[in-house]
Subunit: 212 residues, 2 copies
């Protein structure tokens, strides 16, 4: 299955240091931009990724020796692209499965793994699935996405129950065209609203009877 694992976009370095190794897209902060403006510009310039559904700061990586030569402090971002988007990328750029990462430049493997862990946490207490899923999907397809991202087989029943309780799934009224196995056509859903939100609400601590 095509999207059975998480994938990360890497490009092959054309210059020393670490010539030929795979590297996260990025570059230097310009005097007139903040870090988020900078990462969006660099993604657009270097790898033609304009379809990011979500971008957030991940962490600063600042070990004094993380890059050879003059010191470089990196602000890493987590950017999510829906599974049905297949942006054209330059020749030196490829999507790599996280399970079989090639040798990366600098500390980029650690950054990728940190991003994976952040995504896994967010899937559990936010509506983060909206940034991975296509506009419409069956529960079965969503279960494949969550399983790929979380790294274990997710129960479709639990997934639907939990997301419905959180109020983030909306039935679209459409059904998927029947698959090869025939049978009843599956209902299609979409995520209710865009933008990352904590879905395990503060309300859990509120006194009983109080409105959310």
């Amino acid at each position: 299955m095509r999207y059975a694992t998480l994938r990360v976009l890497l490009w092959r370095r054309a210059l020393d240091p670490h010539l030929g190794r795979w590297s996260l897209p990025g570059g230097r902060l310009r005097p007139d931009e903040d870090v988020e403006t900078s990462i969006r510009r660099q993604l657009a310039e270097k790898v033609d990724i304009r379809q990011l559904k979500h971008v957030e700061q991940l962490a600063v990586f600042s070990a004094p020796d993380r890059v050879p030569g003059p010191r470089v402090v990196a602000t890493a971002f987590l950017g999510l692209v829906p599974s049905d988007v297949d942006p054209e990328v330059p020749e030196d750029t490829e999507w790599h499965e996280l399970d079989t990462l090639p040798r990366t430049a600098f500390d980029h493997q650690a950054i990728v793994l940190r991003a994976r862990d952040r995504l896994r946490s967010k899937l559990c207490y936010t509506n983060a699935g909206f940034a991975l899923a296509p506009a419409e999907f069956t529960i079965s397809a969503l279960r494949e996405l969550y399983s790929a991202a979380l790294g274990y087989k997710v129960s479709a029943t639990n997934l639907q129950r939990v997301l419905a309780r959180r109020g983030v799934l909306t039935p679209t009224g459409h059904t998927a065209s029947p698959g090869r196995s025939g049978g009843r056509p599956a209902a299609l859903f979409s995520f209710a609203g865009d933008g990352m939100q904590v879905t395990d609400p503060f309300a859990v601590f509120r006194p009983p009877g109080e409105a959310r």
Copy 2:
């Protein structure tokens, strides 16, 4: 009540720019340290805070004009001190209630509010209370702490139920000395374990019957 609101430690700037305004403790990154080593060193040197129960990266603040003069990019941290710790602080340093912040230097008010929001989120999906609470506490005292941090009156019943379900509260077997009102002495609890953990577990998505 002493700890009825969140408080933040600020010091009054003795130099331009923004002389006399209140400022978060911090300073420049040295060539031989990463950002976390740096913030711990600076807290220890400047404000004698060695009793931090939790420190985490908050965000990078990088607007080009956030500080007058040469550009300064800041990595902000959230550091938590238990409510019963009252560290000695230098004369130019004070704890300020978040509800009545004085005029701050630069973008430090935005940093403080971001830290408050991070703490509020974390209280809802992690065991973060461990970093705010004394070693032993009654449910009633814990409820005051959560109410102060979340900014609304928390239900003691809900709080105990949710934290017990998450498995983060341990009865110590002790009781508090009776208060002025007399009555049954209240049971004392402690947090089970140190260190921040997501307590709304990934397990919610696991197939039924599988071990957590």
